[in-house]
């Protein structure tokens, strides 16, 4: 699950793995999430690193903390994650398309035309 070669820091990989568990409903709303020590043992990583992965998700509101009990999945977390992933994934794809267009010397107007054509194509397919 964790990639040593990945450019992503381990704590981000931990956070993303937990997000995927929530998206796949293997971790449901209000369910207790692994502790930093469990995560550290599962992945053989320093507990401080695992704790940072949990902290990100708490900060973003995906998890909430109960004092002395650990972290739990926030109500609505799955829905929010879906929305967040849609926004970021689409943005990343668009950003690399625009960059590619720039390399190829395509103007903004030409690019917009391409988008419209593609849109029509796909809508047309569905009919």
């Amino acid at each position: 699950m964790l990639h040593d070669q990945s450019e992503k820091p381990i704590y981000k990989q931990i956070a993303e793995w937990l997000e995927e568990e929530i998206l796949a409903e293997r971790l449901q709303e209000n369910a207790k999430v692994y502790s930093q020590y469990q995560l550290a043992e599962i992945y053989t990583i320093n507990p401080a690193t695992a704790s940072k992965g949990l902290a990100i998700l708490v900060e973003e509101g995906t998890l909430f903390k109960k004092r002395g009990l650990g972290c739990f999945v926030s109500p609505g977390a799955q829905k929010n994650l879906l929305a967040k992933r849609k926004a970021t994934t689409l943005k990343t794809l668009l950003s690399s398309s625009v960059k590619e267009a720039g390399y190829l010397g395509i103007t903004k107007e030409e690019f917009q035309k391409l988008v419209e054509q593609e849109w029509e194509n796909q809508k047309g397919d569905k009919k």
Partner: protein
């Protein structure tokens, strides 16, 4: 509280400096990796912490106590190549002595651990191979659960599967009984995930002490045309730069923030072991050695 504190420590042997104006503060109950080339001063630093050497000047303290005090001696363990056990004792007797001597030793953990690594309790230390001896020393150090555990190159001489098993044991044991662990190693890639902090020593100086996670996004590697890069790089703290082919520069520099700013160049975050390599790299490097010999050659 800091487990270890060095203030302007100098140490020299026969007028040769081993540590120079060395400052260091290590928070307690953390796992710290100690990296550096051979002869950089890692062992000298560990020997000072364990009370085997005293600073020539400056102050070194463990939990606020001078390093040579009895409190420190009875609460620390130093695993190193020359760590000696009584030669006429069996391994079982050595472990029994450990259980008696160290407050936090747990036979319920220690005995199955030595069993897992297939040590015969009736054997004697001199019957072990070199690799087995290093493993026995490292496991003994781990089992003492001493609040300050120092390990100098514990992985040396172990084969890869044993190294993996040992590091997993180290982590699990640390989770059960948190303590301050310093571990020096040339296998930075293998141990980096276990670490909370990394210390890099070079020529007797502390050149880097940082949280591992902070370090992962603090050094950028960028490649591009020299003229354009030089503009971007002015005023930045450059760790390493090299003209990899005519007109093309590769530069490595400290940077915190989004790397999007450099998106028009080939640009990546340095891995922990690459950061280490760049920081301790000799000027020019091997490439220059070969470059000068090939240019002297006459092919005509």
């Amino acid at each position: 509280m800091n487990a270890i504190s060095f203030e302007n420590v100098n140490k020299s042997f026969h007028r040769q400096s081993a540590l120079i104006d060395f400052n260091l503060q290590i928070p307690e109950n953390t796992i710290v990796g100690v990296a550096g080339r051979n002869g950089a001063g890692k062992t000298t630093m560990l020997e000072i912490i364990s009370g085997l050497q005293t600073p020539s000047s400056g102050r070194a303290a463990v939990y606020g106590f001078p390093v040579t005090s009895l409190e420190v001696q009875s609460n620390s363990i130093f695993v190193e190549e020359n760590m000696a056990f009584p030669a006429h004792f069996t391994l079982g007797e050595i472990l029994a002595a450990g259980a008696e001597q160290y407050t936090f030793w747990e036979n319920a953990v220690a005995l199955p651990l030595f069993q897992y690594f297939e040590f015969k309790m009736s054997a004697k230390i001199e019957q072990l191979s070199k690799g087995q001896k290093r493993l026995f020393q490292a496991l003994f150090g781990l089992c003492t659960r001493a609040p300050l555990t120092l390990m100098d190159e514990p992985l040396e001489g172990m084969d890869e599967t044993i190294r993996k098993d040992f590091m997993e044991a180290l982590l699990k044991d640390y989770i059960q009984k948190p303590r301050t662990i310093l571990i020096s190693s040339h296998h930075l890639k293998e141990i980096e995930n276990l670490l909370e902090y990394l210390l890099i020593i070079e020529n007797g100086h502390n050149i880097l002490f940082s949280s591992i996670e902070d370090l992962r996004h603090s050094v950028l590697e960028i490649t591009g045309p020299i003229a354009e890069l030089q503009q971007l790089l002015t005023g930045r703290e450059i760790i390493f730069e090299e003209e990899i082919s005519p007109g093309i520069l590769k530069a490595v520099f400290y940077y915190s923030g989004s790397k999007d700013k450099f998106s028009s160049f080939h640009c990546t975050w340095s891995s922990i072991s690459d950061i280490y390599t760049y920081l301790v790299k000799k000027k020019g490097g091997i490439r220059d050695v070969y470059h000068s010999t090939s240019s002297q050659r006459n092919y005509s």
